[in-house]
């Protein structure tokens, strides 16, 4: 039976410390985390600004952020590809088919997720929190930090969801990274490649890792929300 053999080989690959396999996992984790962290300050600040202020065009921004959530990542990949290609606006960076390019793609994909989730958390916050901070004399920056601290569980949920989206996306990683072994080959692009070659063991091993990552980050999310409930932050 081909499938059972493939699964057995997958576990052998995983537990024998196969260098190629673990390098792929390392590249995936590294580019996802760095991309996410690169997007976080801007996205959280933007989510806070949109969620807590009234200004003309605000609803358009909310609409765009939410619409960006449903964009396929290949489209983001295409956009970035055009920017980073030699004739593109950012061609001088020479980021195409490199880890910085891969990270830029992950950051772009994470951006709307982080904005939309932070925005929702800030909008759900009690408006008296910001008002209290203001009337007690806090600066704009301190008001922002205070409100973000109050909705920290929502911001954490944003980060966890954003990480889940970037680690599992394949479109942008394939187009921008180019699936170069040892350099820009990620878990998802490797699965796509190996499967197309008829090599299932590595694909299944990487699939198991992705599932494990999904289970772990969502366990963290459940724990965080449990803490939030017991702290009386969410009802």
């Amino acid at each position: 039976m081909q499938l059972t053999e493939a699964i057995r080989d997958a576990f052998i690959l995983l537990f024998s410390g196969d260098h190629v396999l673990w390098q792929i996992i390392w590249v995936s984790l590294k580019t996802s985390v760095v991309g996410l962290l690169a997007a976080t300050p801007l996205a959280v600040a933007a989510g806070y600004a949109i969620g807590s202020h009234r200004f003309p065009g605000r609803r358009i921004l909310i609409w765009l952020a939410q619409a960006a959530l449903s964009l396929p990542t290949v489209l983001i990949g295409l956009l970035l590809y055009l920017l980073l290609s030699r004739q593109g606006l950012l061609g001088g960076l020479q980021w195409l088919f490199s880890q910085p390019g891969l990270i830029a793609g992950q950051a772009l994909i994470a951006l709307p997720v982080l904005i939309a989730f932070t925005l929702a958390a800030v909008q759900a916050a009690d408006p008296r929190l910001a008002e209290t901070a203001i009337t007690l004399g806090a600066s704009r920056l301190r008001v922002m930090l205070t409100v973000l601290h109050e909705v920290r569980f929502g911001v954490m949920a944003a980060l966890i969801t954003g990480f889940g989206r970037v680690i599992s996306e394949v479109g942008s990683a394939l187009m921008i990274g180019g699936n170069i072994a040892g350099e820009t080959r990620t878990i998802t692009t490797a699965i796509a490649l190996e499967t197309s070659k008829g090599e299932f063991a590595q694909g299944i091993a990487l699939g198991i890792v992705l599932i494990a990552i999904a289970l772990v980050i969502n366990a963290v999310l459940v724990l965080v929300q449990g803490d939030a409930r017991s702290a009386g932050v969410v009802s």
């Binding site: 009690d126 008296r128 008002e131 203001i134 009337t135 205070t146 601290h149 702290a231 932050v233």
Partner: protein
């Protein structure tokens, strides 16, 4: 008595609907006022306008003898005027951090904050709540922590929005007991309320909002 705050031609409207149109509001230094009026007449809104949480038109505004405009809300007023919500909210940090919040925002040194927070906690009778989680405090406890959080800043003008509403029994008595002490300390206070016992406190002047106009009694 010197005038602490005077506002002429103070108007607030929601859309086309005028809420109030006040020819002259004068708050004297070191004086206490109750602001009465039926629900929805704009008492809370007036307090929120004075502390800069809501915008309004004002033809002429003076504070401590200096002319100001309401928009943008001036820093001098921000530092001198503190508003306390009807149902105050606590920051999730800790009870002492809540009380010291405004001092930290003003850049006061840590040791000085600790000293003034301890003093304010003793004053409000909340020293035993030092290690309680702010979210778990009762309504009366939150109100007392909020009063301590405002008092510690030694504001020139303190605006209290129905501080005893929805409190009863001992909780109400404990909050009531803090009000005369606040008045004696030399701040000016405006209390929006329906509470007859607060209205009847000695030395209280009475402002009444009716039909969009302010009357001093």
């Amino acid at each position: 008595m010197s005038v602490l705050l005077s506002a002429r031609g103070l108007q607030k409207q929601f859309g086309a609907r005028p809420l109030f149109q006040i020819d002259l509001l004068e708050i004297e230094a070191a004086s206490a006022y109750v602001l009465t009026g039926i629900n929805g007449i704009g008492k809370s809104t007036l307090l929120r306008v004075l502390c800069g949480l809501e915008q309004a038109q004002c033809a002429q505004l003076e504070f401590d003898g200096q002319p100001f405009s309401l928009q943008p809300y001036p820093r001098v007023l921000r530092d001198a005027i503190v508003y306390v919500h009807q149902h105050p909210v606590m920051f999730a940090s800790s009870v002492p951090a809540n009380i010291g919040y405004g001092l930290a925002a003003r850049g006061v040194a840590g040791a000085e904050i600790d000293r003034r927070v301890d003093d304010a906690m003793a004053w409000a009778g909340v020293s035993h709540l030092r290690h309680s989680r702010p979210a778990t405090l009762s309504g009366g406890e939150k109100q007392r922590v909020a009063l301590a959080r405002a008092r510690v800043l030694e504001p020139k003008l303190l605006l209290l929005d129905e501080p005893t509403a929805n409190l009863d029994g001992a909780a109400r008595e404990q909050v009531m007991a803090l009000i005369p002490a606040l008045i004696r300390e030399g701040s000016s206070i405006v209390i929006a309320c329906h509470d007859r016992d607060l209205i009847g406190l000695p030395g209280m002047q009475r402002l009444k909002l009716r039909d969009g106009r302010l009357h001093l009694r």
